[in-house]
Structures are given as structure tokens and as C-alpha cells.
Amino acid sequence: MVMVIDELKKDAIRELIKNGKRDDERGFSDYREISIKTNVISAAEGSADVRIGKSRVIAGVKLEVVEPFLDRPTEGTLTVNADLLPTAHETFEEGPPSEESIELARVVDRGIRAAEAVDLKSLFIEEGKVWGVFVDIYTIDHDGNLLDTAALAAVAALQTMKVPEYKDGKIVRENLTPKPLITIPTQCTFAKIGKEIIIDPTYAEELVADARITYCVGDNMLYAIQKAGSGSFSKEEIISLLDKSFEQRKYLLSLLNKL
């Protein structure tokens, strides 16, 4: 049913956007309402439940003792995975990871990794043993812009991460040391519909979008970009959207700093 309505809305949405308006009366540079709750899963070493409008993602962080990578023997490891749950949308199916979920996880991973947000050097335990940080992104409900919802959830979950004690070859999950992020990356996704570019697209807006672009930025630093979709962007658009991502960072950071 939802799918049919979104399909029927397509033309109306295109027309609205062309006239500088949006279905939910937002401006082109406005996010929907964002809520961030942290420590929502007590078994996890870090967790967050993030909603952007009707989109909702839960991210959980678990720490395990792992072998380090050969080229970085004294650093912890970071693994980001995403599951587009069938609970979230009728187009999400059970089975091996889809192209979409792989891209989602890799884009979020890239931003956090490039920002060197997690202090991996401090996650060394002893020779051959380091902490492996596993971030799992669970999409619960999908009304567009899962990328930013997931990124915000992953960053918020990592921000609340606590590292267990490793004693006599055992993980003691009762003794926890907080390990906040060194830098906090923020991510912004834009959709291009016709000639117009909007931030934080809803699902219906994503359906009509020609292209999408995601920026992950820090303070005056660009960490990651991912362009998707069959549409194109001019060089000028690419640069102006980077500037918008820096502007939006102030707002997103203010939400994360409240945690």
C-alpha cells in the first residue's frame, strides 16, 4: 500500500520540487526532525537509536578480542556492517546482503575511518591481540535517507562506546572504560531532482531523484564522498554541496554534543 502511494506521489513530488516546495513543507536545506537516544541496548558496549523523520536506525557496537591486521599490528580494528531489515520496508528482502546494504555500510565505514574517529591505537591489548570494534547498523524503519540516519546512529553509538577489561585471557564486560571518539564526523546526503538539490530526501523523494551525493566532513576537513544514481552533478554543484555540508555540520554536531 505504502509503495503504491509513493509511486502515485512521484509526479506530484517532481512538480512540487520544481516550484521550490516539498511534500512536507520543508525548505530544500532543512533536515526532518532528528532524535538521538543512546545506550538503548544494555548488552552492547555502545548503542544508539536514531530517527530522522520516520526513518529509524539502531546501531550497536560490540567489542571482541581479535588478531590485528598484519600491516597494523598495534592497532584495534573497525568493522561496519549494515542490515536492511525486512521490517523496515517492503522492498527489503531476507537473504545475502544487497548492493544497497553493502554501499550503506561501506560509506558509513569510510567516513568514520577516514576521520580517524575511533582511537584504534589505544585498542592494543598485547602482542597478537587487539580490540575489534564491530559496528552493526540495523535499519528498523525506512522513509528515506537511511545513509545519514545510519551514519548518525553509528557515530552516536561509537561516541558512547565503553571498552571492557581484558584480564587473564578473559573479557570482563562489567569493568568498562569510556572511549569517546577523537573526532566526530558528520554526514550529509543530498538528492538531485531535475535541476534542484534537496537535503535529507524522504523515500518518495528518493524514488524520483536522479542522483544522490553524500559528504562526510569534520571541522574544515572533508573525509568522504559517495555519489550514486544515474544522474550527474556539475563541478560547481559538487563544491557548493560540500560548503552546505560544512554548514549543516554545526547543526548535526550540536545534536551529537548533547549526548
Partner: protein, 283 residues
């Protein structure tokens, strides 16, 4: 993107392979290298070796993927297990699936899909040897393979990478620079419109560095494009010569007239290609 400062990437003002910051590795492209494929290309880009094949327009399997109003474009990028220093696992992985996706989306922009409804156009990009920037090398090769297959396109896109090594912006990242540099930006540009159809970035860059890097990428478009056009020109020269030979042997007396149109079309691509493309591309 390691950002590992222990590995020197610039020695005496030059990059590890002796290049300047704004210098591409040598590129060679040959079109029409495969027997069965509708179109194909073999590209070497520095030590990268890439084979691109296009099959189609052909019937869509599985059938439910059929688009009644246009071709379905599919793309599969893959690195051969022997293509890098360490043995890679055969078959697709998360990285290759993501690359296949962004590459497909880039070609969806370029291919005029409406011409062949209910068909599939399959693009296969195989990295035989990978030494950095393989996705943009693959895209550059696939663009030639598509043109070689006669697939209607708005343009012939080019791929190029730019990045940051030891705080300097450089074009065409080789493997070491990708591994130990500070940022890497693979991108694809449609030369006629100047539009960006593929863009990824990962690393650390200021706004100024990013703008400079984009400019550097644009400055290299013509150089890469020329290699593509030359490869296609060579292919058409060869095939029109082959047609002539055939006609000679068959003893037809209308050789001149019959071979003329073929000659002419290759002639056209020689001369006013750039200009006519700009006018006709429909942007």
C-alpha cells in the same frame, strides 16, 4: 587510505615512478580485442591491465528484470585473483560489488537506453593486473568497449583519479599512493557536458585542496579522451580496410562506392569529432 607517514611517496620532488604531480601514467587502449563480445577494449594504464567487454543489447535474463521502455544496464567489475601482490579470493566481494554499482550508475547516465527497450546491456570489467585506480581505468576501458559495441551513448566518459600524497595534490594515484597517501578521489567525467557521473572520495582534504584536485582532474580529461578516440579510430580503420580487402577478393566492381561510407565515418571521427559531439550530445 593509510596516511602512514613512514612510507615516502615523494622523493626529490618526484613520485615513486618518477612522475610529476600532474602527470598521468602512460595509457594504451586497443578496441575490439575479443571475438564473441559485441564490443571490447584492452587498456593498460601504468601497470594496470584491464579487459572490458560488452554483450548486448540482448535478451534479459532473469526476465523479470526487463524494462519495457529501455535497456537494462548491468555492470560487473572484478579483480582477478592474480592481479595483485597477494592472492585475492576469486569472485565478487563487497568492494567489487560497490564499484560495480557506481560504475553501472555512471553508464546509465551515458547510455541512451530508450533505443533498445526490453534488452540488457552487460558490461564486464576485468582487472587482470591492478596497481591503483583500477575502477577509473576500468571505466575508461568500458567506455571504449561500449562505443566499440555501437551502443548509443550521449558521450564517451573518461575516468581519472586524483588524491593527496605528502600534503600535495596529485593526479592518477598508483597503488602505493592509494595505500599510503592521505586521500583518493576516483571520478568519471562526461567530457562534452563536463558533468561528473562518478565520484567517490576517502581520506582527508581541505576544501581548497578538494577544489584544486577537481581542477587537476578536469585538466586531464582531453589527454585520456584522446587515447579512447584513437583506439576507436584505429579499430574502424582496420575494420574498414578489412572490408575493402574482402571486396577486392570477391571481385566486386562497385568497391569504391561500397567502401566509401565506411571510410567517411572513420574520417569524420578523425576531424570534427569534438565539435560534433558537443553539438549533438543533447545536453
Amino acid at each position: 587510505m593509510g596516511g602512514n607517514s613512514d612510507v615516502p611517496l615523494i622523493v626529490n620532488g618526484k613520485r615513486l615512478d618518477g612522475r610529476k604531480m600532474d602527470e598521468l601514467r602512460p595509457i594504451t587502449i586497443e578496441a575490439g580485442v575479443l571475438n564473441r563480445a559485441t564490443g571490447s577494449a584492452y587498456l593498460t594504464w601504468g601497470k594496470n591491465k584491464v579487459l572490458a567487454a560488452v554483450y548486448g543489447p540482448r535478451e534479459v535474463f532473469p526476465k523479470h528484470e526487463t524494462n519495457l521502455y529501455g535497456s537494462v544496464v548491468r555492470c560487473r567489475y572484478m579483480m582477478a585473483p592474480f592481479s595483485t601482490e597477494e592472492h585475492g579470493r576469486a569472485g565478487p566481494n563487497r568492494r567489487s560489488r560497490e564499484i560495480s554499482k557506481v560504475m553501472r550508475e555512471a553508464f546509465e547516465n551515458i547510455i541512451i537506453k530508450e533505443v533498445y527497450p526490453k534488452t540488457a546491456i552487460d558490461i564486464y570489467v576485468d582487472i587482470l593486473e591492478g596497481q591503483g585506480s583500477t575502477r577509473v581505468a576500468g571505466l575508461t576501458a568500458a567506455a571504449v568497449a561500449l562505443a566499440n559495441a555501437g551502443i548509443p551513448m550521449k558521450d564517451i566518459p573518461i575516468g581519472v583519479s586524483v588524491g593527496k600524497i605528502e600534503n600535495q595534490i596529485a593526479v592518477d594515484m598508483m597503488k602505493e599512493e592509494d595505500n599510503f597517501g592521505q586521500a583518493d578521489i576516483p571520478l568519471a567525467i562526461a567530457p562534452a557536458s563536463g558533468e561528473i557521473i562518478l565520484l567517490q572520495m576517502d581520506g582527508k582534504m581541505t576544501r581548497e585542496e578538494f577544489v584544486y584536485a577537481l581542477d587537476l582532474a578536469y585538466a586531464k580529461v582531453d589527454e585520456i579522451r584522446e587515447k579512447q578516440i584513437n583506439a576507436l579510430r584505429e579499430f574502424f580503420k582496420k575494420s574498414s580496410a578489412a572490408v575493402e580487402n574482402e571486396q577486392d577478393n570477391s571481385g566486386l566492381n562497385t568497391i569504391e562506392q561500397q567502401s566509401e561510407p565506411i571510410q567517411q565515418s572513420s574520417e569524420e571521427s578523425d576531424a570534427g569529432n569534438e565539435a560534433s559531439r558537443n553539438e549533438d550530445s543533447g545536453y
